[in-house]
C-alpha cells in the first residue's frame, strides 16, 4: 500500500503533494530499525523510525513473521531509554504488532510490569493498556494486585486505563475481573467524569453476566440497578457518556422486568427526567429509550416525541438525522404519535443531507393521511431526481405500503410508480418498482388493468432480461383474466422479434397461456406460435412446438381441456431445488422418473427472514427455497435399509432432537421419520470417550405411553468407535394415515470394550451396559409438512370456504404477543407466509400459515391474535382445507395443545 503514494508523486512532476513518507519502502525501514540496537540511543531518530513502521502498517503493509519478530525484539530494547515521547511510541508499536507467541510476550512483560508500578502516571496508564492487550490468564493473576490498585488510582487516566482494560478482559477472563467489584464500586463514585463512565461500563457487564445468564434472577438485577440509579440520579453522574450508559442499563432492566411487574413502569420517571438533561446525547438517548419501551403508551411517548421534534429543526445535521431516524421507527408502530411533527418533517424533504430527506419522506408516507397523499407525491417527484438508487428503493417501498393502506389513492401512486419506471435507474431500483406494481395489481383489483399496461410499456424498452421474463410470466397469469386480453398480445409478440432468446422463450409461453385461457384468441395465437417455429434458438422452437401440439384443436375456437391446462400451466407443488436434486440423483434405468417421489418438504430459514425485516415478500413471490440435502440424504439412507423398504414414501423427517445433555459420555439425538403407516426413529449416536469401543448398540424403547404404536423392527449398530457417529434405528407400526401421538422413553444398550489409547486396540472381552436417554414425543406437528404458498390470498380464495372451520381460543396470560404467535406456529408445525413477524408493541396480529397434512392434504390457516386485558392472549383460528376431517383435526391439535 505504500506504492500508490509513490506512484502519485511520480505522476505529478510538481512537488505540491510533498509527503515525508515519499518513496518509503519496507525493506529500507526495516534496515533503519537497526538503530534500536545502538548502545547510544537517539530517541528522536528512534521515534521517527517507529512512526515510519506504523505508517507502513497503517497503509496495509504486512510484515512476515520473521520481520515482525525482529522488529518486536528491537523495539523492546527501547525500554532502556528514559524519553517519554519515545516510550509512548513503543507502547503503540507493541499494540500494533500484537505479538501472540508466549516466549515473545515474556520479553516485554517484565519491562511493562516495571512501568506499571512507575511513578510516572503516563507510564502506568499505558503499560496497563498494553499489558492487558497481550496478556493471558496466568500472567493476569500475577498483575491482578496492581490492576486493582490502578482502578482506584488518584490519577483518572490510570484508573480509566485499568477499567477499560477490565472491560476487554471480561470477555476472556471473567472470573478474574469479577473479583474487582469492590474497587469498581469505589470507582463508580469517582469525581472524574470518564472514570465514572468506565467504571459503570465494567460494573454493569460484571453484574449482569452472573444474574441473568447463569441464574436468571431478574429480581436481584433490578434491585442492583435500583440502587445504582437512585444513588447516581442525584446529580452525581458527571459525564454524559456515563448517563447514557445508565439509561441503557435502566432500559434493559425495564425490558426484563416488564413481565413480572404490573402497573406503573419502573424507572420511567428517571428516563423522562433525562429528557431535561443539558447534554444532547443524554436527551437523545433517553428519548430513544422511551420510544423503544415494550408496549409504550402514547402518554409515555409524548415527552420523548416533543424533544425529538425540537431536534428536527436543529442546525446540526447529526441531531436532525438522529431524531428523524428515531421518529421513522416510531411511525411504524405509533403513526399517530408522530403526526405532530409532520410540518417539521416536510421542511426536511429539502434537507441538504439526503439521508435525512429520505428518512423524512418515508416517515411522512407512514404517518400521512389520505388527504395529504397527493400533495406529498408532488413533493416526492421533485425529490426523486436527485437522490441515489438506494434511497429511491426505500421510497418506492414506502409508497407501496402507503398504497396498500389507502387503496383509493392507487391512481396517483400507480402513476408515480410508472413515471419513475420510465426514468433512468439500476436493476435493483427497477426491480423494486416492478415488484411494487405487481403487488398492487394483486391486492387492488381496480389497479390491475392500468398496472398491467404500465408493465407492458416498460418491457417495450427494458434492458434487464430477468425483469422482462418475470413480467411476461406475470402477464400470462393475469392478462387472460382481464376484460380485453387481446390488447396485451401486441406487446408480448413484439418481444419475440426484438429480444434475446431467454425473453423470446418467456414470450412464447405467455402467448400460449393466452391461447389456452382465452378460447376466442386461440386461432390468432396459433398463427403467432407457428411463426416461432422458425426461431433460431432451440428452447424457443421447442416451447412453440410443445404448445402447438398440446393445445390442440388445430387453431380452431375450441375449449382447452382442463388437464392440458393443468399440465402446461399448473403450479408445480414441488420445490424446484428438490426436483433438481432428485433429477440429478436419478440414474437412467428401466424405471422411469416419478415426480411423486420428489420430497416436498422445504427446510425453512426463519433466521434469514428475521434478520432482514426490511425485505418484504417480493412481487413474484418465490417460496423460500432451501437446501433439501438433508431430506434427500435421509431418503437415501432409509431406502438403503431393506427392512424399511416396504414402508412406502417418506412423508417427513423431523429436525434432530437431542436426547442427551451436551458434553456427556455419549451424545445421542433422534430424527423422527414419518411414513404413512410407520414411524422410524433414527438415533444418531456419538461416543465421546477415547478409551471405549461400543458394540451392538441398540435403543430399547418403551412405548407404553404411545398406545397406537407397535414396535416392528430394531436395527442395531454393530460398532461405535470413539468420535465417529453411527446410527441405530427403531421402527414402529401405527394406524395408517392417522396422526397418532405418544411418548416414548429410551434406553441406550450396548457392550462396552476398553481400548488401549496408545495402540488403539480394543480388548476382546466386553461388558454389557445401559445409558438412560431422555424421552421422546411424537406430536401432531410431526404430521405437518412446512410448505409455503407464494400468494396466500389467492390460495385461500381458491380453496374456498366449503371445509372452513372457525373457532376462538383463549391462550391465557402470555409473555408477549410474539411469544404466543410462535408457540402456536410451533404447535402446528406449519410454514408462516408473508407478514409473520410480530412488530414490537402491537396489540393484535394476523398470521398466515400453510402446510401439507399427512395424506397429502393441503391446509391453510389464518390466525388472528389479540391482547385481551393486560397479558391474556385470545386467538381466532380459521382453517381451510379440502377435507372437513382435516380442518377438524387442526382444531383438535390446537384445542389439545
Amino acid at each position: 500500500m505504500a506504492q500508490p503514494l509513490v506512484k502519485k508523486d511520480d505522476d505529478r512532476d510538481d512537488e505540491v503533494d510533498y509527503s515525508p513518507f515519499m518513496g518509503i519502502e519496507k525493506g529500507a525501514v526495516l534496515q533503519e530499525a537497526r538503530v534500536f540496537n545502538d548502545p547510544q540511543l537517539d530517541p528522536r531518530r528512534c521515534s521517527q523510525v517507529i512512526t515510519k513502521l506504523l505508517y507502513l502498517l497503517n497503509q496495509g503493509e504486512t510484515f512476515t513473521k520473521v520481520e515482525a519478530t525482529e522488529v518486536f525484539f528491537a523495539v523492546t530494547k527501547l525500554f532502556q531509554s528514559k524519553d517519554i515521547g519515545l516510550r509512548r511510541m513503543v507502547y503503540v508499536m507493541i499494540k500494533e504488532l500484537s505479538p501472540s507467541a508466549d516466549e515473545v510476550v515474556i520479553i516485554v512483560t517484565s519491562s511493562l510490569m516495571k512501568d506499571m508500578t512507575s511513578k510516572t502516571d503516563m507510564y502506568r496508564a499505558n503499560a496497563i493498556r498494553v499489558l492487558c492487550r497481550i496478556t493471558d490468564g496466568t500472567l493476569l493473576t500475577q498483575i491482578e494486585r496492581y490492576l486493582k490498585q490502578a482502578i482506584v488510582d488518584k490519577n483518572p487516566v490510570v484508573a480509566s486505563a485499568a477499567l477499560v482494560s477490565g472491560i476487554h478482559l471480561l470477555q476472556t477472563n471473567p472470573e478474574i475481573v469479577k473479583r474487582w467489584s469492590n474497587e469498581v464500586q469505589e470507582a463508580v463514585q469517582s469525581r472524574a467524569a470518564l472514570v465514572q463512565f468506565h467504571a459503570l461500563g465494567l460494573l454493569h457487564q460484571e453484574s449482569h453476566i452472573p444474574f441473568s445468564e447463569s441464574f436468571g434472577i431478574r429480581q436481584n438485577d433490578r434491585l442492583a440497578v435500583n440502587k445504582l440509579v437512585s444513588s447516581l440520579t442525584k446529580g452525581s453522574v458527571r459525564s454524559p457518556l456515563a448517563q447514557c450508559l445508565l439509561i441503557r442499563y435502566t432500559s434493559q432492566v425495564i425490558r426484563e422486568s416488564a413481565n413480572t411487574q404490573a402497573g406503573d413502569r419502573p424507572f420511567y420517571d428517571f428516563l423522562e427526567g433525562c429528557l431535561r438533561h443539558k447534554a444532547e446525547m443524554v436527551i437523545f438517548e433517553a428519548a430513544r429509550a422511551i420510544t423503544e419501551l415494550n408496549g409504550v403508551t402514547s402518554r409515555e411517548l409524548t415527552p420523548a416525541i416533543t424533544v425529538l421534534q425540537l431536534f428536527l429543526s436543529s442546525s446540526k445535521p447529526v441531531l436532525r438525522f438522529a431524531a428523524v431516524r428515531t421518529l421513522n421507527k416510531v411511525a411504524m408502530t405509533h403513526p399517530m404519535a408522530v403526526t405532530n411533527c409532520n410540518i417539521d418533517m416536510e421542511s426536511l424533504i429539502s434537507d441538504q443531507n439526503r439521508s435525512i430527506a429520505t428518512l423524512a419522506i418515508t416517515t411522512l408516507l407512514k404517518t400521512g393521511n389520505e388527504s395529504s397523499v397527493d400533495r406529498l407525491m408532488k413533493q416526492i417527484t421533485n425529490f426523486m431526481s436527485d437522490i441515489a438508487d438506494e434511497f429511491k428503493i426505500v421510497v418506492v417501498e414506502a409508497i407501496r405500503s402507503l398504497c396498500l393502506k389507502f387503496p383509493l389513492k392507487y391512481r396517483s401512486l400507480m402513476n408515480f410508480l410508472s413515471n419513475i419506471l420510465r426514468e433512468e435507474g439500476g436493476f435493483e431500483y427497477k426491480k423494486a418498482i416492478v415488484d411494487s406494481i405487481v403487488i398492487l395489481i394483486r391486492d387492488i383489483p381496480e389497479a390491475k388493468e392500468s398496472g398491467l399496461l404500465h408493465l407492458c410499456e416498460f418491457i417495450e424498452d427494458c434492458e434487464f432480461t430477468y425483469l422482462s421474463s418475470q413480467i411476461l410470466h406475470f402477464l400470462g397469469i393475469e392478462g387472460p383474466k382481464t376484460s380485453d386480453p387481446s390488447k396485451y398480445i401486441r406487446y408480448i409478440y413484439n418481444r419475440v422479434h426484438l429480444e434475446n432468446a431467454t425473453v423470446r422463450a418467456a414470450a412464447v409461453s405467455t402467448l400460449a397461456k393466452f391461447g389456452a385461457m382465452v378460447d376466442t384468441l386461440k386461432p390468432r395465437i396459433f398463427v403467432l406460435l407457428r411463426r416461432c417455429l422458425f426461431d433460431n434458438d432451440d428452447e424457443v422452437r421447442d416451447r412453440a412446438t410443445l404448445y402447438l401440439n398440446t393445445l390442440g384443436g388445430d387453431g380452431a375456437v375450441v375449449q382447452t381441456g382442463e388437464d392440458v391446462k393443468e399440465f402446461l400451466f399448473g403450479s408445480l407443488d414441488i420445490p424446484l431445488v428438490n426436483l433438481e436434486n432428485s433429477l440429478k440423483n436419478y440414474e437412467p434405468s428401466e424405471e422411469s422418473f416419478d415426480i411423486n417421489y420428489v420430497p416436498k418438504e422445504i427446510k425453512t430459514q426463519p433466521l434469514a427472514e428475521k434478520k432482514a425485516p426490511g425485505k418484504k415478500p417480493t412481487g413474484f413471490g418465490a417460496p423460500p427455497a432451501a437446501s433439501p440435502s438433508t431430506v434427500d440424504a435421509y431418503e437415501r439412507l432409509l431406502s438403503s435399509i431393506p427392512e424399511f423398504a416396504n414402508f412406502g414414501k417418506l412423508f417427513k423427517s423431523s429436525a434432530p432432537v437431542e436426547l442427551t445433555e451436551a458434553e456427556t459420555e455419549y451424545a445421542v439425538n433422534v430424527v423422527k421419520h414419518i411414513f404413512d403407516g410407520h414411524v422410524v426413529f433414527q438415533y444418531n449416536c456419538t461416543n465421546t470417550i477415547p478409551e471405549q469401543l461400543l458394540e451392538n448398540v441398540t435403543v430399547v424403547v418403551d412405548a407404553s405411553e404411545a398406545e397406537e404404536f407397535a414396535e416392528v423392527v430394531s436395527k442395531p449398530l454393530r460398532s461405535l468407535p470413539y468420535d465417529s457417529p453411527g446410527q441405530t434405528f427403531v421402527a414402529f407400526e401405527k394406524p395408517e394415515g392417522i396422526p397418532a401421538v405418544g411418548k416414548f422413553s429410551n434406553m441406550l444398550r450396548f457392550i462396552v470394550k476398553e481400548v488401549d489409547p496408545s495402540t488403539g486396540e480394543a480388548e476382546d472381552y466386553g461388558v454389557e451396559d445401559e445409558y438412560q436417554l431422555e424421552e421422546l414425543e411424537v406430536v401432531a406437528a410431526d404430521y405437518m409438512l412446512k410448505v409455503g404458498v407464494s400468494n396466500f390470498r389467492n390460495a385461500w380464495e381458491s380453496m374456498g370456504a366449503d371445509c372452513e372451520r372457525v373457532d376462538e381460543y383463549g391462550l391465557g396470560p402470555r409473555e408477549s404477543l410474539a411469544e404466543a404467535v410462535n408457540a402456536v406456529i410451533d404447535l402446528l408445525g406449519m410454514q408462516p407466509c408473508e407478514a409473520s413477524v410480530v412488530p414490537n408493541n402491537s396489540r393484535s396480529h394476523t398470521c398466515l400459515l400453510s402446510g401439507v397434512y399427512i395424506g397429502n392434504a393441503k391446509v391453510l390457516v389464518r390466525l388472528q391474535f389479540g391482547l385481551d386485558g393486560p397479558k391474556d392472549v385470545a386467538m381466532k383460528l380459521a382453517v381451510r382445507s379440502e377435507d372437513e376431517a382435516v380442518s377438524d383435526a387442526i382444531h383438535e391439535i390446537v384445542a389439545s395443545g
Binding site: Y55, G60, S160, A161, L194, G201, L319, Q352
Partner: protein
C-alpha cells in the same frame, strides 16, 4: 448484549480518499482489502457533501458514519446501526479539535503527515479497543502533548492550559477565515 457505546473505526483520509491514518476496532473488516473497500465507499458517498461547518452523517450497510472535512483532510467515525449518533459525533469532534490544538490550527494533509506520530497517539488516546477513552479535546491534546516533555519535569497545569488556550485561539481563527 453489548451496552457500552462502541466505536467501529476512526478514519483520517485525504481529499482523494487515501489513508493518512486509520484504526479499526471491529472484526467486521477482517482484511486490508475489506477495509479499503469500506474506506472507498465511505469516501465516495461523502465527498460531494459540504461537511465543513457542521459534522455530517450518513448511514449505509448498517453502519452510522459521522464525518467532517477540514482543509484537505476528511475525518470519519463509524459506529453500529444502533449507536447513539450524538455520541459518535462527540468522538469525531474530540478528534478534530484535539488534532487542531496539537497542530496549532494548521490542520491539513501536509502537517498531518509530518506529525503522523501525534495523529496516531491522538487516536490511541481517544478510543481503546472500541471503547471511548476520552472525548474532551483539551484532555486528549494534553495527554498527547505531555509525551514530548521530559520525564523529570512535573506537569504544570497552568502552563499547559495556557498553551492549549493559545492553540485553540489559533484554531478558531483559522476556522473563521
Amino acid at each position: 448484549m453489548e451496552l457500552c457505546p462502541l466505536i467501529k473505526n476512526i478514519l483520517l483520509l485525504d481529499s482523494e480518499g487515501k489513508r493518512i491514518a486509520v484504526k479499526y476496532y471491529s472484526d467486521d473488516w477482517p482484511t486490508n482489502a475489506a477495509k479499503e473497500a469500506f474506506e472507498k465507499s465511505v469516501f465516495t458517498k461523502t465527498q460531494k457533501t459540504n461537511a465543513r461547518t457542521e459534522a455530517e452523517i450518513t448511514m449505509f450497510d448498517d453502519y452510522i458514519v459521522v464525518y467532517k472535512f477540514v482543509q484537505d483532510l476528511h475525518f470519519f467515525v463509524t459506529g453500529g446501526e444502533n449507536e447513539n449518533e450524538i455520541i459518535l459525533a462527540a468522538v469525531l469532534q474530540g478528534f478534530i479539535d484535539a488534532v487542531g490544538l496539537l497542530l496549532r490550527g494548521n490542520v491539513d494533509k501536509k502537517e498531518a503527515l509530518e506529525n503522523l506520530d501525534i495523529i496516531l497517539l491522538c487516536i490511541d488516546e481517544i478510543v481503546d479497543g472500541g471503547i471511548i477513552l476520552e472525548t474532551d479535546a483539551n484532555v486528549i491534546a494534553g495527554k498527547v502533548a505531555s509525551h514530548s516533555m521530559d520525564a523529570g519535569a512535573p506537569l504544570s497545569e497552568q502552563t499547559i492550559t495556557q498553551a492549549l488556550a493559545t492553540a485553540r485561539e489559533h484554531l478558531t481563527r483559522s476556522l473563521l477565515k
